[in-house]
């Protein structure tokens, strides 16, 4: 018996697939609709205000560390920006140090020197197996306990002060004529880049090497100081001074920032070290042997042959670590570092009661930061891939 047209249609794989997909999709849409509808109804019933008008209202609270001008008369939106910038600051500094320390330990772990390899291994195993929150508490309270009170500050040359309120540094004020120095500084940097390109080209053509690094370093530093002297030293320093309870003036790093970035970068560095080790070990041994056999020195083998190839393996998991670090920075709330979570999802949420709006905004920010980091790292990955094999 020939199957009917109808059963043909029913048992067609494509039709069945579409059918199930349609059902799943409509269930998801229904579910979302139900949640949104019910939330709105419950909020109405409970007399909860909704919407984003609160962003334009005066916040009436203070924040301990702000990178932009902020006071209790600023709006909740300003508080949002303050928190966001503080989060970005921690994430930026953390990623910078985690990368350097992580690469160093990753390479150390592969060292043929027994002691160095063991030191790196111990560090990695200890750090990555202790919960981050505990490490943050440890560094915060260890730092606080170790440092003296403001009146007994540790001093360096009468201008840098360290106490349990933070690290106080002289703040440079750029007077008249200093713009010349800036221009000269940037010009020397451009010249240095040109030197690098030129020396590389010449080396490719003729094989003659040129000490580009030393020459450009000397150029940048030399011109900088020459310009400084020539313009009669237009830079003055605002030196912190002990007034009442605390030091005033100058630049200040609060202990919360130091403890948080330190804990975050140490913790993430342990994971990055393992990523780096995996990347290096993924480069076949023949590459090292070939490099040595053409007479390259050990440092050059690493720099010219192994790392460029290892990076292809390293970058994708490295991106993950960067994302983790950024998201982990929200633990700041535990030690009073005024990040986005503490300021906005904490104080602002409590004062306004706009839980859904505020948590939504904060989630949006972390999502955006993560996607943005991913895009940058993917671009970097694509560049590293050029010329492979």
């Amino acid at each position: 018996m020939r199957p009917s047209k109808f059963s043909n249609f029913i048992f067609n794989r494509n039709v069945q697939g579409t059918f199930y997909q349609a059902i799943t999709l409509s269930l998801v849409i229904l579910g979302v609709y139900y949640i949104v509808q019910n939330t709105a109804e419950n909020m109405m019933a409970r007399g909860l205000a909704s919407g984003f008008h609160f962003l334009g209202v005066e916040s009436q609270f203070d924040i301990g560390m702000t990178l932009i001008e902020y006071s209790p008369t600023s709006t909740y939106f300003d508080a949002f920006i303050v928190g966001l910038l503080n989060t970005l600051l921690v994430a930026g500094i953390g990623i910078f140090f985690a990368t350097i320390v992580g690469f160093a330990f990753g390479i150390m772990r592969l060292s043929s020197n027994w002691l160095i390899a063991k030191i790196a291994e111990t560090y990695i195993e200890v750090i990555r197996n202790i919960p981050l929150l505990l490490q943050i508490f440890f560094w915060y309270f260890a730092v606080l306990r170790a440092l003296p009170k403001p009146k007994q500050s540790i001093e360096f040359v009468d201008s840098v002060f360290l106490n349990n309120r933070g690290l106080f540094l002289p703040d440079p004020n750029f007077g008249e004529g200093s713009s010349v120095i800036f221009y000269l500084f940037w010009i020397t940097i451009i010249i240095s880049i040109s030197i690098f390109i030129w020396s590389k080209r010449r080396q490719n053509r003729t094989g003659i090497t040129f000490p580009a690094f030393y020459v450009s370093a000397a150029l940048i530093v030399g011109v900088f100081f020459a310009a400084l002297t020539a313009t009669g030293f237009p830079v003055s320093f605002d030196i912190p001074e002990l007034k009442g309870f605390n030091y005033k003036g100058g630049m200040r790093l609060i202990p919360e920032l130091v403890a948080l970035t330190f804990a975050l970068s140490m913790y993430t560095a342990a994971f990055i070290a393992e990523v780096v080790r995996a990347g290096i070990m993924a480069v076949s041994k023949g590459q090292t042997e070939a490099a040595r056999s053409v007479g390259l020195k050990e440092g050059l083998v690493l720099r010219l042959i192994i790392i460029p190839q290892a990076l292809r393996v390293i970058v994708p998991p490295l991106t993950n670590q960067y994302l983790n670090l950024t998201k982990n920075s929200s633990l700041a709330a535990a030690i009073a570092y005024p990040d986005l979570v503490l300021v906005f999802a904490g104080t602002a949420l409590m004062q306004t009661g706009q839980a859904i709006e505020i948590i939504g905004m904060v989630m949006g920010v972390y999502l955006f930061l993560s996607l943005f980091t991913s895009i940058i790292m993917n671009l970097f990955n694509r560049i590293m891939k050029v010329g492979e094999r």
Binding site: D62, A336, A345, G353
Partner: protein
């Protein structure tokens, strides 16, 4: 992170579960045989667990009084410790039925975020604690100080107001949990610790050397603390409100935890007879038994009993009642209950 998770969970719970609770919290509570009471994570004298996990304090006793009024048993309560940040979401989401966690009654909380305040069980005000060896004797000397405090409280706003009004500079250092505030202040991160004065007295007992610290005389704000319930459930709010009122009125008429039995047996005063549940049938309006107020006084005590037991002068917290707003109106305080009739 945990708090965000709680907040989000709370949001979803409030979305999905609470319609059932709208049936009436009192009926639900009677059916399940207990209710959930949100308390602090440990403020001695107000709500604090002992080593066996038994909660005590004047905030806890509000919940015990509600339990006594409903069940004739003060211990049909499950205590849920909450941070300042979590508390309102927990109440809105139906995780708890009463919030009794030294919470200040303010307009915005009452009107904007779906809460209803059931009364005041402690009149407080914000103060500052400093080290004795700092030589500071007045809050007006705090210009430039680093100030430690808690997240998610009226405290943050009051100190901003105070320093702004007196054109003084300061550095706020805001922690999520009270224990970390105490720790950081003890380690010298801050020159002063600010919160409600009762909170300062309570937290001082946790410092390494309590006697090396002193609370400054200035009170910079009004902090009427009291139990809170969800908005939109008047019957339940009434039960909580009148449980508190009964404790206060019992004291006004000399009915104490120790004499309630004998006094009730032989009283001829109609007000006392009503409180004893012998006349007036006050329970019916609240959907409770007529002995509800008798049970409160006999199982928990009147306001004075509770105060002296947990925060009075003979406790480690040591807050003198005489001369404070928490004295009964008969003794010059502002504690005054509407008549339970």
């Amino acid at each position: 992170m945990n708090n965000i998770k709680n907040a989000i969970l709370g949001l979803f719970c409030s979305v999905l579960m609470v319609p059932a609770a709208y049936a009436g919290t009192l009926d639900t509570v009677k059916d399940q045989g207990f209710f959930n009471c949100g308390v602090s994570q440990g403020v001695p004298g107000f709500s604090n667990p002992d080593e066996n996990g038994n909660w005590s304090g004047i905030d806890v006793d509000v919940c015990r009084a509600v339990s006594a009024a409903i069940f004739g048993d003060a211990d049909k309560v499950k205590y849920v410790p909450l941070t300042a940040k979590e508390r309102f979401t927990a109440l809105q989401a139906g995780e708890i039925d009463v919030l009794s966690r030294n919470t200040t009654w303010t307009l915005s909380r009452d009107a904007q975020i779906g809460l209803e305040f059931a009364g005041v069980n402690f009149y407080d005000g914000q103060g500052f604690m400093v080290r004795k060896d700092s030589g500071i004797t007045s809050a007006m000397e705090l210009d430039g100080a680093s100030v430690c405090t808690n997240l998610g409280t009226t405290t943050e706003l009051n100190m901003a107001d105070f320093f702004r009004a007196n054109s003084m500079a300061y550095e706020p250092v805001v922690f999520e949990k009270a224990d970390e505030v105490v720790n950081a202040y003890d380690e010298g991160r801050c020159d002063t610790y600010t919160t409600d004065k009762s909170g300062l007295a309570a937290q001082r007992t946790k410092l390494a050397d309590p006697d090396a610290h002193v609370v400054l005389p200035e009170t910079i704000s009004k902090e009427p603390l009291g139990p809170v319930v969800r908005e939109g459930d008047g019957d339940w709010a009434d039960v909580v409100r009148w449980s508190l009122n009964a404790m206060i009125e019992a004291e006004e008429f000399g009915l104490t935890n120790s004499n309630v039995k004998t006094t009730c047996a032989m009283t001829s005063n109609p007000v006392v007879a009503r409180l004893c549940g012998k006349e007036g049938g006050t329970g019916a309006g609240l959907n409770l038994g007529d002995s509800w107020s008798y049970d409160i006084v006999s199982k928990v005590g009147n306001y004075g009993d509770v105060y002296e037991k947990h925060v009075g002068e003979n406790t480690p917290v040591g807050l003198a009642r005489a001369g404070s707003p928490n004295a009964s109106y008969k003794n010059g305080g502002v504690l005054y209950a509407p008549p339970a009739r």
